[in-house]
C-alpha cells in the first residue's frame, strides 16, 4: 500500500487549518446579548426612544424655546393652543370723549309716554378688547340711555345681561366699554330712558372686539420697534404652541421647567434609594445570621409605614422655608421611605448567589468580604437592580405628581407636572388644555418607563437567554 493512491480513495487527508477552532459567530457578552434582545422588542425600543426624547425635551428644549416660564402674557390668558395671533396696536390711554349732540336737549321738555329705540347704533373705529366705542342717533324726548352687554342674544327686554352704564342726558350719544373684554361676540343693548325710568325701547348690536395690545406694552415686550409702532397697525403676539395657563404663562416653557423638576425627582430619588438598598441588602444577605435578622426586621417596619401618609408627614417635618421650592424635602422623604423594597430584593438575590461555587472559590483564594460583595455578588444582581430602577422611576413621578396635586409637593411658583395638573383641574371645563398637557406628559413618561422596564426584564432574564 502506498500513499500515492490516496487521491483515488473516498477519504482525503485533512489539510491543516489554522482556524479549525474558530467560533463561527462572535461571542456575545451578557450586555450585548441583552441589548440584542431588547432591540427585537419593538415596544421597549419605542419607549427607549421616548425616554431619550423626554431627556432632549428637558435638557435641550429650554435652549431652543427661550421664553421665560414665569413671564405673564396678560393679553393671552388661558389661551388654547393655536398659531400665533395678531393684534391691533391701541393707544396707551383711551382719549375718547363721549360725543354730545349739540342740537339735542339734555333734558326732555315734557314727560313722554313712549320713546323710540335709538337709531343708527354702530361702532366707531375698530372694536378691540381694550375698548368698544358705540355711537347712536339721539331719540326725541329721551332723557338718557342705559347700556347693557351680554354674551348671548337678548329677546326684547329680557336677558339684556350686564348693566354697563346709565347715561343721564338725552344728548349723550356715545359710550366706550372698557370692561374686561374678550375676543368673542357681545350683544350690546341700548335702552332709551326719560332720565329716570327705562322705556320699552331697545336697540341691539353684535360686536366682536379684535385682539389688541397697548402700544407701550408691545414696545416693552419687543413685539414691535418704537419707530414702526403706529396706532391701528398690526403686530404679531408671542406664539404659544401649547397655549397659556391661567396667569398667561407659556405652557410649553412651563412644561419644560416642570419636566426638570418631575424628572429630577423621578430619577434622582430612585438612584439614591436603590443605591442605599443595594448596600443594605447586600450586607444583610452576605453576612446572614443575626445581623441579617436585625437589619431585615427594621426594613420590615419601614415597609409597614403607610407610604403616602408618611410622605406627607415627613414633608411637613422637614419644612419648606420661604423662597424654597420643596424639592429637597420630597426627595429626602422618598428616599427614607422607599429604600427597604430594594434592600429586600437585593438580599434575596445575594442569598442565592452566595451559595454559588465561584463565591466559595473566591473565598478559598482569600478574597475579603467586601471584595466578594462588590466584585462577585453585586455585578450578578445588576440585571434585577436595573429593572427595579426602571420601575421605580414611574412610581416616584406618580408620587411627586400626587403630592403636588394635593398641594403638599413642590411649592409654587416652581412648576412641576403635578402642580400644573392641580392648577389645570380647577379650570378643566373651560380650558381643558391646562390639565391635558401636564397629564399627557406624566402619562407618556410613566408609560415609557413601564414598557422599558417590561422589555428590560425580559431581555435580562437569564431563563429567556437560555431559550434563545
Amino acid at each position: 500500500m502506498s500513499l500515492d493512491h490516496t487521491n483515488s480513495l473516498d477519504f482525503s487527508w485533512a489539510q491543516h487549518r489554522a482556524d479549525r477552532e474558530r467560533i463561527a459567530r462572535p461571542s456575545l457578552s451578557y450586555w450585548q446579548d441583552a441589548w440584542q434582545r431588547l432591540k427585537q422588542n419593538k415596544r421597549a425600543l419605542i419607549s427607549l426612544y421616548l425616554v431619550l426624547a423626554l431627556g432632549v425635551f428637558t435638557l435641550i428644549g429650554p435652549l431652543l424655546w427661550t421664553i421665560d416660564p414665569s413671564q405673564q402674557d396678560l393679553n393671552q390668558i388661558s389661551q388654547a393652543p393655536a398659531l400665533a395671533k395678531t393684534a391691533v396696536l391701541v393707544e396707551d390711554r383711551s382719549s375718547w370723549v363721549v360725543p354730545i349732540d349739540q342740537n339735542h336737549p339734555e333734558v326732555p321738555l315734557g314727560y313722554p309716554d313712549t320713546l323710540d329705540p335709538v337709531g343708527e347704533l354702530q361702532t366707531e373705529g375698530d372694536p378691540t378688547i381694550h375698548y368698544v366705542r358705540l355711537t347712536w342717533r339721539p331719540v326725541v324726548d329721551a332723557g338718557g340711555y342705559a347700556i347693557y352687554r351680554n354674551t348671548s342674544a337678548p329677546e326684547g327686554l329680557v336677558n339684556l345681561g350686564l348693566p354697563l352704564a346709565t347715561l343721564n342726558g338725552g344728548n349723550l350719544v356715545g359710550f366706550e366699554d372698557r370692561l374686561n373684554l374678550k375676543s368673542e361676540p357681545y350683544y350690546y343693548s341700548i335702552v332709551t330712558t326719560d332720565g329716570y325710568d327705562e322705556f320699552e325701547a331697545v336697540s341691539t348690536i353684535i360686536v366682536t372686539p379684535r385682539q389688541s395690545i397697548k402700544r407701550s406694552e408691545a414696545i416693552d415686550r419687543g413685539l414691535v420697534s418704537a419707530d414702526s409702532a403706529e396706532i391701528g397697525g398690526e403686530v404679531t403676539l408671542s406664539f404659544h404652541p401649547f397655549g397659556t395657563d391661567y396667569l398667561g404663562r407659556d405652557m410649553l416653557a412651563r412644561l419644560m421647567e416642570g419636566a426638570r423638576v418631575s424628572l429630577f425627582i423621578g430619577l434622582v430619588a430612585p438612584l439614591i434609594y436603590v443605591f442605599i438598598g443595594i448596600i443594605y441588602g447586600g450586607f444583610a444577605g452576605y453576612f446572614g445570621g443575626h445581623l441579617d435578622q436585625v437589619l431585615m426586621r427594621f426594613a420590615d417596619f419601614v415597609v409597614a409605614l403607610p407610604f403616602l401618609l408618611f410622605m406627607i408627614l415627613f414633608k411637613i417635618a422637614f419644612g419648606i422655608g420661604p423662597g424654597e421650592n420643596g424639592i429637597f424635602p420630597m426627595l429626602l422623604a422618598l428616599i427614607l421611605l422607599l429604600w427597604p423594597a430594594t434592600a429586600r430584593l437585593v438580599r434575596g438575590q445575594v442569598l442565592q448567589i452566595r451559595e454559588q461555587g465561584y463565591i466559595e472559590a473566591a473565598r478559598l483564594l482569600g478574597a475579603s468580604p467586601s471584595y466578594i460583595i462588590f466584585r462577585h455578588i453585586l455585578p450578578n444582581t445588576v440585571g434585577v437592580i436595573l429593572v427595579t430602577l426602571t420601575f421605580a422611576v414611574p412610581s416616584a413621578i406618580f408620587t411627586e405628581a400626587f403630592l403636588s396635586f394635593i398641594g403638599m409637593g413642590v411649592a409654587p411658583p416652581t412648576p412641576s407636572w403635578g402642580s400644573m395638573c392641580n392648577e389645570g383641574v380647577k379650570t378643566m371645563l373651560s380650558h381643558p388644555h391646562e390639565l391635558f398637557f401636564p397629564a399627557l406628559f406624566i402619562s407618556i413618561t410613566v408609560l415609557a418607563f413601564n414598557l422599558l422596564g417590561d422589555g428590560l426584564s425580559e431581555a435580562l432574564d437569564s431563563k429567556m437567554r437560555a431559550r434563545g
Partner: protein
C-alpha cells in the same frame, strides 16, 4: 394555625408601635410649634395652652403619655376644632372611607379577575390586545386625572339625559358612590388584570387541565373549577397591600368628589397643622393597614392549605 395567628398579631402590635413612634418623632421635628397660631395671643395664654396639651413636659414624658393614651385608644383632642375628640372624627369619617374602599376593591377584584381571565383565554387575539392596551393606559394615567375625567363624564351624562342621572359630587346614596369607587378601583383593577393574566397563563396548560380535558369535562367546568380557582391565588396575596393603596389613594378621589371621608379630613388637618388629628389618623391608618395585611394572609392560609403547612 392558632399559634400562627398569635405570632402575626404580636408582630403587628410591634409594627404599630413602630409606626406610632415614627409618627410622634416626625411630628415633633416639625419646625415651629402647634400653638403658633393666632389663638396664643399672650405668653400666659400660650403657657396655659401648652399645659392643657401637655406640651410643657419633657419630650420623653410626652412620648410615654402619647403611647399610654394610644394603648387606651385615646387620640386626644383636635387642635383646630376645640371640644372635638380625634376618636369622634375617626368614628364619623372613617366609615365613609371604608365603604368607598370596600366598594372600590370589590369592583377592582371582580374586574381584575374577569378581565385577566378573558385576556388569558384569548391570548394574543383581539380581546387580549384591547384589554391589555387599556390596562397599560390605566397604569400610566394618574388617578387624579381619572377622577377629574370621571366627574366630567358625569356632567356630560347628566347634560345628555337632561336630568341628574348620577350625582356629580357628594355622599349619601349608592348613586353617589359608583363613580368615585370605579375611579378609585381603576388602578388596582389594571394591576390585578395583569397579575391574573400571567397566573392564568401559567395554569392554563398544566397537566391537570389536560387530564380534565381528557376526561371529557366541559370547557366551562374546566375553566371555573380547574383554571380559575388555581389562578386566583396570587391575586388574593396582593389584595392586602392593595387595600393600603386604595385607602390612601382615596385622598384625591374624596377631595375631587367632595366625599366626607377620613382621607379628605387628613389632608385638611395637614394643611391646618392640626397635630393631634394628624398623629391620630396616621396611627389609626397604620394599624388598620397592618391588620388588613394580617387578615389577608390568614385568609390565604384558608384558601391555600399548602401555606398553612409551612
Amino acid at each position: 394555625m392558632g399559634r400562627y395567628i398569635l405570632e402575626r398579631l404580636i408582630g403587628g402590635i410591634i409594627t404599630v408601635w413602630f409606626i406610632a413612634t415614627a409618627t410622634f418623632f416626625a411630628m415633633h421635628a416639625v419646625p415651629g410649634d402647634p400653638l403658633m397660631n393666632e389663638k396664643a395671643a399672650t405668653p400666659e395664654i400660650r403657657a396655659n395652652l401648652a399645659r392643657q396639651y401637655g406640651l410643657d413636659r419633657p419630650l420623653a414624658e410626652q412620648y410615654l403619655l402619647f403611647l399610654s393614651n394610644m394603648a387606651k385608644g385615646d387620640f386626644g383632642i383636635s387642635f383646630t376644632q376645640q371640644n372635638r375628640r380625634v376618636n369622634d372624627i375617626i368614628k364619623d369619617h372613617f366609615p365613609v372611607s371604608a365603604l368607598l374602599g370596600v366598594l372600590a376593591i370589590t369592583i377592582a377584584a371582580a374586574g381584575g379577575v374577569v378581565w385577566g381571565a378573558i385576556t388569558a383565554l384569548y391570548r394574543n387575539r383581539l380581546p387580549d390586545i384591547i384589554i391589555m392596551s387599556l390596562v397599560i393606559l390605566c397604569i400610566s394615567v394618574p388617578s387624579f386625572v381619572f377622577a377629574a375625567l370621571g366627574q366630567l363624564a358625569l356632567v356630560g351624562l347628566n347634560q345628555w339625559f337632561g336630568v341628574s342621572v348620577l350625582p356629580v359630587a357628594g355622599w349619601g346614596t349608592l348613586a353617589h358612590m359608583l363613580m368615585p369607587a370605579l375611579v378609585l378601583g381603576l388602578g388596582t383593577m389594571a394591576l390585578l388584570t395583569r397579575l391574573m393574566r400571567s397566573s392564568m397563563l401559567d395554569v392554563i396548560n398544566e397537566d391537570y387541565v389536560r387530564t380534565a380535558k381528557a376526561k371529557g369535562l366541559s370547557k366551562t367546568r374546566i375553566f371555573t373549577h380547574h383554571q380559575l380557582r388555581n389562578a386566583i391565588l396570587p391575586v388574593v396575596t396582593v389584595l392586602g397591600p392593595q387595600v393600603a393603596a386604595i385607602t390612601t389613594g382615596g385622598f384625591v378621589v374624596e377631595m375631587i368628589f367632595a366625599i366626607p371621608g377620613l382621607g379628605r379630613y387628613f389632608v385638611q388637618a395637614v394643611q391646618q397643622l392640626d397635630y393631634t388629628v394628624i398623629m391620630g389618623t396616621t396611627v389609626f391608618y397604620g394599624a388598620f393597614l397592618v391588620l388588613m395585611v394580617i387578615v389577608v394572609d390568614i385568609l390565604y392560609g384558608f384558601i391555600d392549605p399548602r401555606v398553612r403547612l409551612r
